[in-house]
């Protein structure tokens, strides 16, 4: 329909079509290449032998490929241990966070009991308090519980996500209450109703929130830095800034470590691009 309209109109519009169909995507690609330049350059730099970092003009591609950077990144640092810590905390933290959020959202949407709305507002009120303002007190709490240098200490302040609870409740509320009554008549309790009927119906949003939780815990920096004292408990984000290579312009192993940490996520993004773009639209954030 659009194409017909455009074709019918005069040469001015044909020029406009050339601009929009060929020039704009090219501009976009140019802009996009500038945007990902740091990523490409760091990948190149992960193969730089030590001398390549100090040349002028700076190098874009390595003079020869230095695989040793990768070997040293793994052997001379605790990178693998850092990655294990990050995986464990991000996966475990996300699991707890989603369970907590789903339970609260379910009760808020389907169950009626005295004080429900008040308690729900108490939970949501934490949205207004940025956790950065509470770093000192939360640190003291974790210290008093003896949880410094533990996985639980690292994830503790990320376990409650009031915005996610709110979004889940909004989605749960679109599910008719008759479903619950029908399920109850068939002898299906609340927990089974939640896991068998509610969650499958809210799957796109639940998946988007799970992904968001995972990346936010995986990317956390300041808090994991504060609550870990020993190198072996550090997460990737903290550990990668303390590899100890970057002292003497010996950047190669650091960039190799960055590439090792980033590559799996980049590949996942390439594979999931369509899902991510659609998932954001579906998670109710838009419109």
């Amino acid at each position: 329909m659009t194409e017909k309209l455009v074709r019918k109109t005069g040469p001015r519009h044909r020029n406009a079509r050339i601009v929009t169909d060929f020039l704009l995507p090219l501009v976009a690609t140019g802009f996009g290449l500038i945007v990902i330049f740091p990523l490409l350059w760091s990948f190149m730099a992960s193969f730089f032998p030590i001398g390549d970092f100090t040349t002028w003009p700076p190098r874009l591609v390595p003079s020869r490929i230095e695989w040793d950077n990768y070997a040293r990144a793994i052997k001379e640092s605790m990178l693998l241990r850092f990655m294990a810590n990050s995986l464990a905390t991000a996966a475990g933290g996300t699991a707890i966070r989603m369970t907590v959020a789903i339970l609260a959202a379910f009760a808020a949407a389907f169950l009626s009991f005295k004080g429900r709305d008040f308690l729900f507002i108490v939970i949501l009120s934490t949205m207004l308090i940025p956790s950065d303002a509470l770093l000192i007190e939360n640190y003291l709490t974790i210290q008093r519980f003896g949880l410094l240098d533990t996985w639980f200490g690292i994830v503790s302040i990320y376990l409650l996500a009031p915005t996610q609870i709110f979004m889940l409740r909004q989605v749960f509320k679109t599910i008719p209450h008759e479903f619950r009554e029908a399920a109850a008549i068939d002898g299906c309790g609340d927990i089974r109703f939640l896991t068998r009927i509610v969650l499958p119906m809210a799957r796109p949003v639940a998946l988007a929130l799970t992904l968001q939780s995972f990346t936010s815990i995986w990317n956390a920096y300041l808090w994991p830095l504060l609550v870990t004292n020993t190198a072996r408990m550090r997460t990737v984000q903290v550990g990668i800034t303390m590899l100890g290579f970057s002292e003497s312009l010996d950047f190669g192993p650091t960039f190799a470590a960055i590439s090792l940490v980033t590559a799996p996520v980049v590949i996942a993004f390439m594979a999931l691009r369509k899902k991510i773009v659609e998932g954001v639209a579906a998670s109710g954030l838009v419109g």
């Binding site: 995507p25 990523l39 007190e137 996942a268 691009r273 954030l285």
Partner: protein, 298 residues
Amino acid sequence: MQSTPHRTIVTRHRRLSRIAPYLYFLPALALAVTFSLWPFFKTVVNSLSIVNLSGRIVEFVGLDNFRELSASGNFRDSLRNTFRFTAMFVPANILACLGAALLCYRKRRGTAFNELLFLLPMAVALSSAALIFKAMFNPTIGIVNWILGIDVDWFNDPAMAMFTLVALGVWLDIGLDFVLLLAALRNVPTQLVEAAAMEGANAWRKFFSIQLPMISPTLLFVVCTNVKDAMLISAPVMILTEGGPYRSTQTLVYQMYLEGFKSGNYTLGSTIGVVVFLLSVVMLLLLFRFEKRGVYYA
């Protein structure tokens, strides 16, 4: 005889079904109190007192801490830097993300590839990106100076260091905000845009009269989260500039970290924490006022 155990089971069952709903709320409530509401209360009380190194209150001093803070040049620098960063970061970020989204929202050949380019920064974690930027902006061997053909001492020039933080901030944010705005632009009904085009509206007119009002809820959401994140910036400062040179990039949360965890001054740290909280609430209120006037809901 036999009815007694039966009755207890029934009453127990009834009692359980009365408590059960609260059990669903319990984990969330416990976490809210332990890691947000109670520490918030304690932080406020701390800011009105003198606190020792084990976090115990020694003396109640009223608003003295706030008075001391507002008189200190150190704190004023942090405040000014935080606002300066926010004022530079938010417009730059919105321009970059909206520009990218406008270039990509129409599905043409190559759009999938372009989308991927703008999405990929989302895959890079904060500290990795900070390390990459630190090397790229290196004044003597960095590639940024070479490409731009300039000789700027990024990390030793108080006037320039903030730009490295803004560049890093925009780069870290572009992925998510791009997707949000892209989805919003694609949700604008195509009939509206086509009708405008048929009546001779040019690209500017189309954008300002139709697309911008239609995406304004999403845009407001992005601006809100941008402002909040900018006011709370700390980690990029820690890795990239460490607040320097001459405190020119020391932000509020970074100063709070320095006072609380480097100097062990919990009193001052908590006082800054309260200021951070107040600022973020005021910012949100301002934005909500703006929402009533400037946002169009379909």
